[in-house]
């Protein structure tokens, strides 16, 4: 929480320092909103969640850091995640400030954009890092479980993605004013709801920490005040916001509206799915579980629609594109069909996974279409950023679909000398050795994995920490060009040892895709900054992206 309020305060300070283009009244209102946010959360920190509260008696060797957190991932995942989460507070404050002074227009969008983009990039990195960290640290080979806390981080990201696109439309064309304001309020509200879900204990999760119903009540009160207040303000003021320029359904704006629509539906679905068990139990008294089967089934098709939209959307002209040049997407469409046909080479996989792989292949190609016909070195960095991000989405989709359908798992209690076969690999188990580290002892298994000529040594461990007493699995993973071999050693059964081996083709594309999405955003951010600096004269009309 200390990190949370630190970022909140720093963001407000930075906003005050560097924001020049907003009207003073709006800036004042914005900073006031940001300060009000800080007031509430600092009060919470001091009164209900004091990190400096004394522990009496003090444990002689400290309480011990949870062994799962004794890992470099701890240095990446929380800071980037929090910078992203809480960076969205500036977008929220800007929206509130603009509603107060009734100044919703392109200048607001231009002020908001770098904050949204920056927070979104960091949030993307944070979620991607968290997913990869859980994947290699936890030892069950999964990377996303639709756990309530995971959803709590995904929902602000979805809102921020929609906001990102909306803010671009508002900046370039002056349209989608109400949408942009609404999304800005929702994005940070989702951050706060996420904080609430993680710390209140109302939903069981492997990721919860600092759980305490008192804290939950506090954060709920803050939520009611801030989100309720902002939504009320929106309700009262939004009708006075002037409509922006009109546009045809088939146009860049139209495609972006469709994009935001789908993203919002995904967001709404994840929200409903996460909280449904609570609502259902409140009304019927029955406990139900809503887990991966539901979420995968409903978000899958929506993501496919989004992918299809991405083929043509970035190519449409602003305001109206009455005869869109569909010939350009012919090649990606053909690639999609071929990829779909190729998926039938694999053993039985679900239709959703097939479509996922097929559309990912097509989208990977289609994401480059906006560059067609341009002088590549003269193309603005913002366009490159868009291309890279959309490519990242295609790769992540491919990785996710592959992991869901092409993974091979082998579970066997092996004696030393046995050879197990998983996917294209032969894995020979030669035995175990005891091993010690600074605060743990472990049983280390020795495996040699061969495929063709390559032989790789893998040493998974089953570790016992003493403070706090815990047992963890340290998976041994090797990354090949086409996937990862993931190995885990379990307990002893007589003279045998439990081994779990997975062959996961294309799984690294998930996080590579995530990294590209973030990189694209970073490029766009830098491109924008460069462009803003070049805008010296008012006669220099801004070119739409």
């Amino acid at each position: 929480m200390l990190l949370w309020v630190m970022v909140l305060a720093a963001a407000g300070a930075l906003l005050a320092l560097i924001e020049r283009s907003l009207r003073p009244e709006t800036l004042r209102a914005t900073l006031g909103a940001q300060a009000l946010l800080a007031l509430g959360f600092f009060a919470f920190l001091l009164l209900a969640s004091n990190p400096f509260a004394r522990l009496n008696p003090a444990p002689p060797q400290g309480e011990g850091l949870n062994p799962l957190l004794q890992d470099p991932g701890l240095a990446f995942h929380p800071p980037t995640l929090y910078l992203g989460y809480v960076g969205l507070s500036v977008a929220f404050s800007l929206a509130v400030g603009a509603l107060v002074t009734r100044e919703v227009g392109p200048s607001l969008a231009r002020a908001m954009r770098p904050w949204v983009l920056g927070s979104w990039v960091l949030l993307t990195i944070g979620i991607t890092a968290g997913s990869y960290w859980a994947y290699y640290e936890l030892g069950w080979g999964g990377w996303w479980f639709w756990d309530p806390v995971e959803n709590a981080s995904l929902m602000p990201w979805l809102a921020a993605t929609a906001l990102l696109h909306s803010v671009n439309v508002l900046a370039a064309r002056g349209s989608l004013r109400a949408w942009t304001i609404m999304l800005a309020v929702i994005a940070f509200s989702m951050s706060m709801i996420g904080t609430f879900l993680v710390r209140s204990g109302i939903l069981t999760s492997v990721h919860s920490f600092a759980v305490d119903p008192t804290r939950g009540a506090w954060i709920l009160a803050l939520l009611i005040f801030y989100t309720g207040g902002a939504l009320l303000l929106f309700f009262l003021r939004a009708s006075t916001v002037r409509e922006g320029a009109q546009f045809e359904p088939v146009s860049r704006e139209g495609a972006l509206v469709a994009n935001n629509l789908i993203l919002s539906v995904i967001l709404g679905t994840v929200f409903v799915g996460t909280l449904y068990p609570v609502a259902a139990e409140a009304l019927t008294g029955e406990k139900i579980s809503v887990g991966p089967p539901y979420f995968n089934l409903v978000t899958g098709p929506l993501v496919l629609i989004l992918a299809a939209l991405l083929f043509i959307g970035p190519l449409l002209r602003w305001r109206r594109d009455s005869r869109p040049n569909l010939k350009r997407i012919a090649l990606p469409a053909i690639v999609t069909l071929i990829a779909f046909a190729l998926t039938f080479l694999a053993a039985e996989i679900s239709l959703l996974a097939r479509l996922g792989l097929a559309f990912a292949a097509g989208l990977a190609l289609a994401s480059f279409l906006p560059l067609a016909g341009r002088k590549l070195l003269r193309t603005p960095l913002t366009i490159w950023g868009m291309v890279v991000s959309h490519l990242g989405i295609a790769l992540a989709m491919a990785g996710a679909a592959a992991d869901a359908s092409l993974t091979r798992e082998v579970l066997h209690a092996a004696r030393p000398g046995e050879v197990l076969k998983v996917g294209p690999w032969q894995v020979r188990f030669s035995g175990v050795d005891p091993v010690a580290g600074p605060n743990w002892t472990a049983v280390e298994g020795h495996l040699v994995a061969t495929r063709g000529e390559r032989a790789i040594r893998l040493d998974p461990q089953s570790r016992f920490f003493y403070s706090p007493p815990t047992e963890t699995n340290e998976a041994a993973i090797t990354t090949a060009w086409d996937g990862q071999l993931y190995t885990v050693i379990g307990s002893r059964e007589g003279d045998r040892w439990q081994l779990r081996l997975w062959w996961k083709p294309m799984v690294t594309l998930i996080w590579l895709g995530g990294a590209l999405i973030a990189l694209g955003g970073l490029m766009a951010l830098l491109g924008r900054a460069r462009r803003e600096r070049r805008r010296t004269s008012p006669a220099f009309a801004e070119q739409p992206a």
Binding site: A178, M182, V185, I186, S189, I193, F196, S200, G201, I202, T204, P213, G216, A217, L220, L223, I224, T227, G228, L231, L232, F234, F235, A238, S239, L275, V278, A279, E281, A282, K287
Partner: protein, 176 residues
Amino acid sequence: MNRKLWLALPLIVFAAFVLAVGWRLSEPSDPTVRSRLVGEKVPAFALAPMLPGRPGLASADFAKGGPRLLNLFGSWCVPCIAEAPALLELEKRGVPIDAIALRDTPEDVARFLADHGDPFAAIGNDPVGEAKIALGSSGVPETFIVDRKGVIRFQHIGPIMPQDLARIMAEWEKVR
């Protein structure tokens, strides 16, 4: 007017959210896993005898004979030691008790009974938790009260502590 409705929608959704989570905060979720078979007949299972000279346990046994208690325990289970006096007390008051020993060996069970008392009539051997899951139990110790028709009428989760005896006796009276 219509536009106003749309603009109010987020606020309405938020209000519903606050109501739902507010309710959950005020009534924290009960983490105990209760069996859904309370009120149903004892499910089919058949367990071999745990100790020589002591009969095993099967679901068919519950339809004949009289009402009784069914206790799930393990010699390795620490809270089971805590509830041993209560079970002895119940048996003293004339309540027949059958048991299912989870993941146990005859030697360990014999030693447990010698150390902590033996209120059990029949003891079934459940090496992999099949009967436990069939009953809808999620751990040891647990105690079921079964009536003369073989219908489960009550489930007590956790060890039977002295303060629980009154409730158990009351439930027992209902089926006797």
